[in-house]
Amino acid sequence: MSTMAVDVHPPVWRRLIGFNLLTGVILGVGGWYVGWFGAHAVVAPSLSFFGDIDFNELSLVLAYLGGVVGFLTGLGFLNYPLARLRGYPSSLREKETQGVGRYFTLCTDHKVVGIQYLWGIGLFFFIGGLNAMLIRTELLRPAHQVFPAGTYLTIVGVHGSMMMGMMTSGILGPFANYLIPLMIGARRMAFPRIEALTFWILMAAGVILQTTIFWGGFPTGWTGYEPLNIEAYQGMDCYILFFALVGISMTLLGINMIVTIVTMRAPGLTWTRLPIFAWGVLSTAILMALAAPVLVCTLSLALFDRVVQTNFFVAAQGGSSYLYENLFWVFGHPEVYILALPGFAIVLEMLPVFARKPLWGYRLAVAGLLGVSLLSWFVWQHHIFVSGINGDLRPFYMLSTELISIPTGFTFICGMMTLWRGNIRYTTPMLFCLAWFFNFLLGGLSGVFLSDVPSDVTTHGSFFSMAHFHYTIMGGLVFTFFAAIYYWVPKMTGIQLSERLGKIHFWWMFLAFNSTFAPLFAIGFLGQPRRAVTYAKSLQFLNDWVSVSAFALGLSLLFFLATFVYQLAFVKKPAEANPWASRSIEFQLPSPVPVHNFDRIPVFSSDPYGYGEGPAPSWTPAGAPAGRD
């Protein structure tokens, strides 16, 4: 259909003109000023384009919203709906764009979006990590020393928001977008433009959060508790807009994943043949699609309280700070499983490959993923056991929280029994997966203390809980994130990554990670509160130990970044199509994967875990012939 010749070598200046990131940034800045001055035209008593004008909350909010609209317009998100409104047929141009330029514009090829996500999320992950280094620098001494008090809180808040906001899409963004259509035998995601939209909204959100420093930062940490939220300066608006945009991105991403997996599976790919990774993505996507809207609504209420004088959360005027806590954690607890579940799925997906055995207890593993997904809705008040809300419901939330270890245990037993009597290869991705067991075990066992109300009285709000969720999220999500990078990036880029460098990275990161976070359990048990800039003198040695280890951890990530970029940009050693001898379908495709994935849609006859069950592949390319959609 699209036979127009694409000239891939026009001069550089010509290539910069059009709908792309550059135009997006220019229109974004323009939109920002339109919103800013527009709001002033409505609400300010006087308007001066060059002198000082009255500051108001509304102008800032509208400025950022104008900026987002301008940014998305510049990227070309209005082209398709406008063209359709004017009666033009739909086209595949957004997908078939060639060259490096497609990574800097609206591209509807799910493989391009996956790689965009990988770099975009990676960028913000490193910014978040840098903030962690600053926090540990401040905590080298028990008293206040490096940063002004407000700056320190902003650093803590940006670190938390960056990690809890951007990293929610850390697996689903890069890897599910790239792999789910391949794994289910489809040529695209269900909603390719929405898929691209989720990425660019997320990038806009990340930038908005960074700009909080121009408005004085925000003092609340990533939870944004009321009524401190209402009291805070304009930097708070950046947090609210950031997280609301992240929520919108997550909702759309979740819906897109659910619809894709439910409706676009190739013939023969029944629910019991679906790769376990797809099950993990599905259970995560359900949480995203249902929990993230709660976040968007909650933050909208907070924004109304700040901007247009409503009183949802102001106790003296009939509101309640409990309302915010409740709404936030109704989102917030599914949120932490949005972070954890993809890790479970990655571990279960890779163990069969590197133990050369079928996934043990497939149905139990699926039940575990779905069970966690379901139970995570009934546990949120364990975050507010000592808040004074619903004192009589605490035994229920203690029970529901502890029940969630049962489906989590399913993942453990299925993983462990998959290793049992296997033929285990210690490749880099396998090492990261095995580290998941260790980290998540410590994270889970420490969670027992936090779920138990009497014990939680002491551990809540201390470094113990902070160590706990770093073990589950960094130890669970980030370690599997790297497993996924080492496992799938050779497929995604066609470039092989060095096993030796990968193993150095692994051991460095694993040891530094445990040396950083294990002592924090002790520090929390000894009574150091989170997010406080001061601590008892007697805890200085442990804190210094943690800080030094954290710097080593930071360096291990820099080492990864340097070796990763060096290998992709300079060494460029071509990867085999199936470097791990995996039976999974994505590794049976040529590298790089063709734009439309399959010449003929595959027909599946079993799950991809038939190790030791004979050479018959789990699928044949016998379905519908090449047509593009």
Binding site: A149, T220, P227, A315, W360, D392, L445, F449, G612, P615
Partner: protein, 289 residues
């Protein structure tokens, strides 16, 4: 690359792997669990300065002892599996036995984890309901220790960025320092004037959020005289990190003397102070528009 080389003949490896792991686990657990309970238990937080604190130490000891065998199981399992089933370079791509399921193992695992989890929840509930465990329970507490009607009341008021205390049993006087008599049951009524704070007396095992407009009740029975640190455990703005104090548990006679002195100090300012109330509604600090 040959993706599907020869499959190991099923049942070729008849070594009693399962029995070895279970025996090693049992031995390790039986040795480690009592050691953990005896040596680690007593140093677990938050210490024995109050009845509630001691209760938490018991709780933490039981939890630590419970998770020890779990930790041992995974430790033994992984050490065994990762050494014993390591691939030799020559046969690295040989497939293992295609074990897909085992109903006995599944059922055992589900039953055991369920029993452990339910016991933990039951134990936690029992401990909580005994004396409230020092946690904030809100305005209508459920875990009320016997004799709550006759306890000494102390109101804890959080504001940015300090704690003050009112003693309704002594005319609602307000003090800058927290003094409590020894061996006494105390009701803490925690509230806030502005944002959410959290009153945390670590050594006493007490933590209760201070919410504006809410009376958050926590119970506490002091033991012998000592000092203790008070911190704010909920991020409350700019000087959150400096919201700490030292409180004191003192002998009854010394407490009586102290409260008398405070009453004298308060006499001159009493008429300016708001009447004692479960909560206060100062004008909220809000900006915006």
């Amino acid at each position: 690359m040959a993706t599907h080389p020869t499959t190991a003949a099923p049942g070729a490896d008849r070594a009693p792997h399962g029995r070895r792991v279970i025996v090693a686990w049992l031995v390790l657990s039986i040795v480690a669990t009592p050691l953990v309970a005896i040596f680690l238990g007593p140093i677990l937080p938050p210490g024995n300065a109050s009845v509630q604190g001691s209760g938490q130490v018991v709780d933490n000891t039981v939890l630590t002892a419970t998770i020890t065998p779990v930790f041992c199981l995974l430790l033994v399992f992984f050490v065994y599996v990762l050494t014993r089933f390591r691939a030799a370079p020559a046969t690295a791509l040989e497939d293992g036995p295609p074990l897909r399921n085992h109903n006995g193992i599944q059922v055992t695992w589900i039953v055991v984890t369920t029993v452990v989890v339910l016991s933990l929840a039951g134990f936690g509930t029992f401990e909580l309901l005994q004396n409230g465990s020092g946690g904030g329970q809100g305005p209508s507490p459920v875990a009320v220790p016997a004799g709550a009607d006759h306890m000494m009341q102390v109101q804890v008021i959080g504001q940015q960025w300090n704690w003050t205390y009112r003693y309704p049993g002594y005319g609602g006087i307000e003090t800058q320092d927290l003094y409590l008599p020894e061996n006494t049951y105390v009701v803490l009524n925690v509230t806030s004037l502005d944002v959410i704070h959290s009153f945390w007396a670590y050594a006493l095992g007490v933590k209760a959020d201070a919410n504006p407009g809410v009376d958050n009740v926590a119970y506490l029975k002091t033991k012998g005289p000592r000092s203790f640190e008070i911190r704010c455990a909920e991020l409350c703005g700019l000087w959150h990190g400096y919201m700490y104090q030292t409180g004191h548990i003192v002998p009854q006679s010394q407490f009586a003397a102290w409260i008398k002195q405070q009453q004298t100090l308060n006499a001159s300012i009493a008429r300016y102070m708001p009447k004692y109330s479960r909560s206060y509604y100062p004008d909220p600090q809000r900006r915006g528009g």
